[in-house]
Every structure is written in C-alpha cells, then in structure tokens.
Amino acid sequence: MNAPHTNTPAAAPSSDVRSEEMLLNMGPQHPSTHGVFRVVIRTDGEIVLDSESHVGYLHRCFEKHCESVSFLQSVLYTDRLDYLTSMGNNLAFSMAVERLYPDLKIPERAEHIRVICAELNRIASHLLAIGTYGMDIGAITPFLYCFRDREKILSIFESICGQRLNYNYVRPGGVAYDIDDSMIAAIKDFCGYFRPKAQEYDDLLSNNDIFVRRTANVGVLPKDLAISYGVTGPSLRGSGLKRDLRRDAPYSIYDRFKFDIPVGTGEKGTLGDCYDRYMVRVREMIESLKIVEQAVAQIPDGPFKSEQLKGKLRPPKGESFVRVENSRGELGFYVISDGKDVAARVKCRAPSFHNISLLSDISKGCMIADMVAIIGSLDIVMGEVDR
C-alpha cells in the first residue's frame, strides 16, 4: 500500500512505510524535568526531531521584589533563585551590594566563612545533581546515597544558620552569625567522611557500563555552541573549556587556595557529552572539599561582619555588576542603586537560564530517553531559570 507522505520527517527512512510525526508535551509536571520545565517535542517514533522549551512556570517576580523591599530583605529572595545553592546566591548578591560602597573591607573571618559555606553548598548541590541524574537514567539507589551524604552537610548548615535550605546567611558586610569550634569540628569530620564516599558514587554510577552507554556520546555540546549560548559552569567545562571564575577572576579570597579545575576529556565518548558534564561535577566535589579543608585550617579569629555597614543598608548611588562561580555556572547580579534603601533595579544573570536555552539545539535526533539524560546533565534549577 503506497500511502502518500503527508509530511516527510527528516529521520524517517524513505520507504513505503507511512510515518507520522507526533507532538509530545513533556512537563511542566514530569518526573524528570527537574521542576516545572516544559518542553514540547516533535517526535518520529522515539526519535526527537525538534523541541521547543517553555519556561516561566515558576516565575516568582524576583526582580520586582528587589525593587520593592530593602537590600537586606532582598537577600532572602536570592535564596529562592537557585534553591540548591543558596549560599552562593547570597554571596553574589551581597558582593554586588558591597561593590556599591567605595571602600568597604570585609573581615577576614567572614570571608573564610563565606568560602567554606559556598563550597560546602556546592558539594551539596552537586550531590543532588548527581543523584537526580542517576534517577533520570533509571538508577534510584545512588540518589538515596547522595541524599544520605547531603543530609550531613545540611545538618552542618542547620547548626550554622538554623535552616536546611534557603539559608539567608551571607549578607552584605559579612555573615549573619558567627560559627563556633563545634561547627568547625563538624566540618572537619565531614571532610574526613566524604572523601572515601566519592568512590562509592563512582562504583555505583560512573563506572557502570549501562550508565556510561546511556550518557557517553549523548547530547554532545560543542565548545563554540556553548560559548554562543553563554553556557557556564560544569556544563561549559564538560565541553573542555577551562573557565572558572574562582581561578580566572578570583573574588572573595579564592586566590589563596590551591585547587584544580576539572574539565571534560571525552574519556568515554565525545568531548562535551553528558558523561563529561556529569564527571566534571563528580570531580568538582573533591576540589571543593580541598578548598573547604584549606579554609577551615586557616580560619582566623575576628569579627564576622563589617562594622562599616551598621544600621540600615543604604548604598550610595551607583551601579555594580558582580559574578560568582556558582555550582551551575556564573551567577551575576546587576544592581542599580539611587541612594535609597531600596534598589532601583536588580537583574539576575542566572546560569541555568543560559544553560537550558540550548536544549533544542543539542537534542535534535536523539531519542526520548536521551532527552531526559540531556536535561538532567544540564542540571537546571527552575527557580533560577524563571526567577
């Protein structure tokens, strides 16, 4: 039977078999879209021909809030951007506000605490990314192992600032509360505990043949495409570009620590595939651990917040743009102050927003199962994409 082709998809073989395209709506409520991300896929059978991303299902008006509440209150809303790396968000926003002041010195102790918290938070965030990535691929147990270790970091944070998530801890001028010796001891304990655990994830996932076959050569992100889309963080480093603001444009006191920057090598497949992005995260956890160990070893005594910022926060008129290397990439804040206690405009440069915008470019021709693998490997947080 020679049925005429109504529409000829690119991937369909030119035979008499009639093939129809289908529109598949994935999300906003789907187990592996990591929140409320929605992607409409045009499929030919299991093959993804084209896809269109839709975001905004978690638009929480962050930038409007920053123009409506005081600078100190805005810190609270930055928590909820990338809710897995709240410490990094707080740090970036606080630094952007501090940059508005002409000569502001942040106490050494506060800088150390900031680095420790940001790096511990990076480990926690990567743990969740790795765990949920395993779940996307179909392995459920690594997820629970990651959560087991993540709980240890959360309990440290809980003792430091009283919250398990959304810490509101790093604030303009320093940090909210000081840390004491028991907390430092807990962090040291964690460092000793975590190092061998990383091997466990490698055994369960990284060296698993099925996992490698599911992720290697899938969703290859070439370097030039990554640059064109402004991809940053582990997703960029997975493509082989060694760019990390902690080393390249050191902020806070990152220039004092020794650590490596893992990049993708295409060890199991092509450079820039899902496996490379995943492995960069696994290796970054160990590098973060190194930073934490060094920072804990040399933490000085002294005040934990700047005396210059006493009272109501009222930065001078001006504009500032500050970026930090967050666990998902470069998080930037463009802050405009007109001398009041409320910002005139705050713009958040969210890494996930850039990273997910290229999904339709790297997912063409893959299978539906790969689509899930690619979304997982980009490791998005919708709170940050939608803001």
């Binding site: 289908m22 598949l24 709506n25 789907h30 187990p31 592996s32 059978g45 299991e46 395993g134 779940m135 996307d136 691929i137 179909g138 392995a139 459920i140 147990t141 629970l144 192992y145 087991r148 190092r195 061998p196 091997q199 055994d203 369960l204 996932l205 698993n208 099925i210 996992f211 076959r213 599911r214 299978m367 539906i368 199962a369 790969d370 899930v372």
Partner: protein
Amino acid sequence: MTTPYTLVDWVLGDGAGWLARFIGAILVWAVPITGFVSFVGLLSIWLERKISAHIQCRLGPMEVGPHGALQTVADGVKLLAKEDIIPADADRILFAFAPMLAFAGTIVGFAVVPFGPGLIVADLDIGLFYLAAVGSLEAIGVIAAGWASNNKWSLFGSVRAATQVVSYEIPMGLAFVTIAALAGTLSMVGIVEQQQGWIANWFLFRNPFTWVAFIIYYIAALAECKRAPFDLPEAESELVSGFHTEYSGMRFAIFFLAEYAQMYVVSAVAAVLFLGGWYTGIAPLDAAIGGGTAGMVVGAGVIVTKSFLLVCVQMWLRWTLPRIRLDQMMYLCLKVLMPFGMLTLVGSTVWEHFLPSPAIVKDGGGWTGNTVMTGVVVAAIGTVALVAYVRSVIRATPSLRAASNS
C-alpha cells in the same frame, strides 16, 4: 510421559471418571493457584519494598503490621476502594479488558510450573513450548492497555513493550531449546527428573554452555517481567508511568500483581530448567525424603525457595542498575544474546555428543562426570567473589587504597 501421581489423583483416589477429574482439577487447582498467585504477589511486593529499602540505607514499611508485613494488604484494599477512572476518550472495552488479559497471561503460565513432585496442574508433553507461547500473552495485555488509554505516554510504553517482546523472545526460546535438546523432552516434570541426584546433575552444571544458556535465559526473563534494566514500558523517569499511566485503582493493582506473579513464574521456570527443580541437589537427602506426601511438601518448599531466591536477585538488580535505552535493549537481545544463544545450542549438543555425561543414576549416583565441570564453575565464582571482596576492602580503606595506587 504421564504423571505417576498428581494432586488430583491424591484427592480423588484412583479410578475417578473424567468429569470428576475435570471438576476436581478446577476445585483443587484453580482456586489454590489464584490464592497462591495473590500471595506471591503480596509477598513479593513487600519483599521488594523491604529489600529496596535496605539496599538504600532505609527501613522500608515499618508501621503497618510488624515490619510492615501488612503493607501490601493495605495497599491492595485501598486500591480496591479507589475511584475507577476510565478516561473519556479511551477505548472503554479494551481499557477494561487489558488488565485482565495481562493477568490471565501470567496466571496460565502457572499451569505447567511444578510446585513439587506431582504438584503440577498439567504435566503437558509440550510444557516448555506452551510456556514460551503463553509467556508473551501478558505483553498483549500491556500493548492493549497502552493503546486503549489514548494517552501518548501510554502509547510509547505499549510500543516499547511490543518491541521488547519481539526482542527477548528469541534468545529466551534458544535457551529453552538448549535445555530441551539435552533433556530430550519438553515436559517440565521430565526435565526436572533428569536432574535428580547430586547437584552436579543440575542442567546448570551439565556443560559450560548451559551456564551461558542460564545467563541468557535470566536476562531475557528480566525483560519479560519488565524489570530494570529492562523496565522500558513503564520507565518512570521517561514515560511518566508508561502503559499504565491512565490506570487507577483496581485495574492498576491487577497490572501490578501480574508483574510480580510473572516474576515468580520466570524464576520458577529457571529453577526447573537449570537448578534441579524440587531436588535439593544432595542425593542421599532426596533419597531419604523419598516420594509421597513428605516428598511433595519438601519438594514444594525447595522449589519455592529457589524461585524466591531468584526473585530476590531480580529485585537486587532492579535497585542497582540504571535503565538501558530502547535501541540498546534491541541490540543486546538481537545482536548479542541471540548469537550467543545459537552458539550455546550448537555447543551444548556437540559437547554432549563427544563428552556425554554419564547416565543419570536415579538412586543418588552421578557424582562423577560433571564433578569436574561443577568444580571449575564453583572455583571460578569463588575466585571472582574473593577478588571483588578484596577490591572493595581495599577501596573502603584509604590507607590500603593509597598503597595500591602508588
């Protein structure tokens, strides 16, 4: 081959008419089998949750009954009392029929699975062939469910199930043929009886090729049960819930039950074909137990234990391995397992021709020819296990790991 002593005969006594035997078979078999299937399902689901929990450093169900023993009962009754939804655009008849088809496809498999000496519903001469035929019936139910739901995710799930059936059936059939060629019969009871005696007589240890056939069969069986890493039709992270996305309440529970009953069937078949069925593998022990009622009870215990051990291995695999992709599943079944299956069939028959196993001695002999083979296999497994253990110890100990790396 006729069954010398079956449960129906035991209940009715010898010399009952065919009608009495027919009605007796329904009463004696259909009712207990249905009960057994439900029990197996409930027990497996509870086991699954406890095993998965303990793999994942959790406890699993604890509050409903002692150690959550009543958890699956509660789940079942709750699902029974849930609202039964049939989507407006679904094919109503097919939608309602599909779970029953899947469940029936599973339960008819129990007809030829022996539970012990004489404890078999029907010892068909073509038992193995029948099993291969009805084994794919469940997939028809799954395909029908996905089609009838009028949901794109369900459709993907059902088409994946169809793809999976045509892929795993072939290597599974080849594994069946390998054993059938050795046993010279398709009757399940006949196959078990050839494995009488010492553990060396089990088909698993008959020659190196049956060992491969066992692995092929077990992988194909995982695919038949839609268990990870072959849980493509319901792949939760990809297809929401796959073919049963639109099913709620009791209809979903029936699918669930069918899946777990299927797990038991394939495991019991593996026990029958490769692991000596109801024989303990210790010849004097089998001889001491003898036949009759005691043999039936002990035999049933042995075969159910073996089957449940294999079910637990399925669970262990599920909670350890990621899911493979559709094309990889087809590649594995059609381009890896199938050639190996053919090789196994040829190799096994050639081996038997040139190195025939000594005649099976029913009174507990046979501790001769296969002993070498058994010894080699056991030694190999032992070595692998030892190496893996030492490696894990080295890895878990930082100082040792540093020493081994340098």
